[in-house]
Amino acid sequence: MTNSKKNRIKDKLFEYFGIACTFFGLVMLAIFIGNILIDGLTRIDLDFLQNLPSRKPEKSGILTAWTGSLWILCFTTLIAFPLGVAAGIYLEEYGKKSSLSSLLEVNISNLAGVPSIIYGLLGLEIFVRVFSLGNSILAGAFTLALLILPIIIVATREAIRAVPPSIRAASYGLGASKWQTVWHQVLPASMGGIFTGVILAISRAVGETAPLIVVGALAYVPFTPSSPMDEFTVMPIQIFNWVSRPLHGFTINAAAAIIILLLITFIMNGIAVYLRNKWQKKISW
């Protein structure tokens, strides 16, 4: 065999190896989701969604968990969305090249690398104790909002950066002030990108477990929350709780709850990808 033939075979072999590696993770995920579906799919019915947690696995439901997740999701969004977008606007449109903004930039990329459980410790000390919110939905939502803030800021900045300067120049040329330009031109043009980022950030928050455990979300809550100051549990914590129990019935419950959590996550990610594609097509400057 000549050298060049050998090289070509090596090249081809690596191509197959590359395909195999690319699919390895996805196949593992598929096996896993298949497993979960087999375990949990038959467990999902209306009662499972409507029942309170119970000591008997077949009577337990995820009512408190999904309502808790919904509360957390709403409040986290309410807090993080305006904060993150405003910060993104500031960094991209106002504070360029100031020493404050370079500090902000380094700081934000550092925050993005802080483990989520550390945010839990922050929330436990600041929101639960200093602000004395207790183990409430509000304390959890504030903690998660800080956690996803860097994601929203980065997404906002990228979306704003994609708006060409000519749009701003035209707006200024017509006599608009800076804020009018931002509010009426830049923001509408970048909304697609911003929403994509926000949805991805929220979907991350929905799946987050560790910081909420630290903040004191309970594994067992026998009622659905009725105000933001109530104690709460969320889907991932309910799953964690069921996984840690030896009884087989609870494992099946966990699988069923995972199906629902995954469904929520995938739908949100799907919407984000759809939005991104739609906006990319629609706006071509």
């Binding site: 995920l29 550390i118 804020w179 477990t209």
Partner: protein
Amino acid sequence: MKKRRLEYFIELILKACAVVTILTTIGIIWVLLSESLTFFKEVSIKDFLTDTEWTPLFAKKHFGILPLISGTLLTTFIAVCVALPLGLVIAIYLSQYAPKRFRKIIKPLLEVLAAVPTVVYGFFALMVVTPFLQNLIPNMAGFNALSAGIVMGIMIIPFVSSLSEDALQAVPKSLKNAAYGLGSTRFQTSFRVMVPAASSGIIVSVILAFSRAIGETMIVAIAAGQQPRLTANPLVPIETITAYIVQVAKGDVPHGTLEYRTIFAAGITLFVFTFILNNISFWIRKKYREQYD
């Protein structure tokens, strides 16, 4: 005049929102420092760093962080051993071999791996991977570092692959074309030209993967066990820093006690690790960014 004041006011509000991120950092550092300083008044730093036992919840208390660190590093090491080769090969394949259309479909699919909540991966490790591995390795414990590490590795594959791919894409086309022009195959071009040229970016992706794996919590809390021990054996139950924090937070440890403060001491250790790794990666990125421009 009124308008100008309004503009100024709006800018001030936007600035305040941006400053929240700085307050967050200050908050994190203040919380970790103040609680762990009180902790270190009762436990000497020397004991903390050299004692080989971590039993703060038992009657006979030891406060040596080493077992937790070894547990963390063990799972992290296994995870990186899984994610690095796979992620790198995927990055090379996608950037040098794969047709454009295939890449467009497969990249969002790979991102799904990172979007799955970690508690779900924990379930996967405990209920699927551990029983499977127990068939192959009969004396493996139900909780162990190996399954947790492997699953964590699968989770961070897209992390390594997308960062490495970015690094490979950033290599100037001329280098690649020169290699092809000299008659190299794609394999030779990839490994003798592209990977060395993109090495700094690839190293950054590995460091960030490390930092990510060190801070990962739920997979290890579910599947790796709650027994802090100083060992490199991946088949026995261990405990990581993050899993310890969860274990304590889950229980009912009253505020203000020494046990309560241990989670902040553990937290600051974790924070220091990830902070150093993240900053090394920033430094590398900055230093080697414009090498080819």
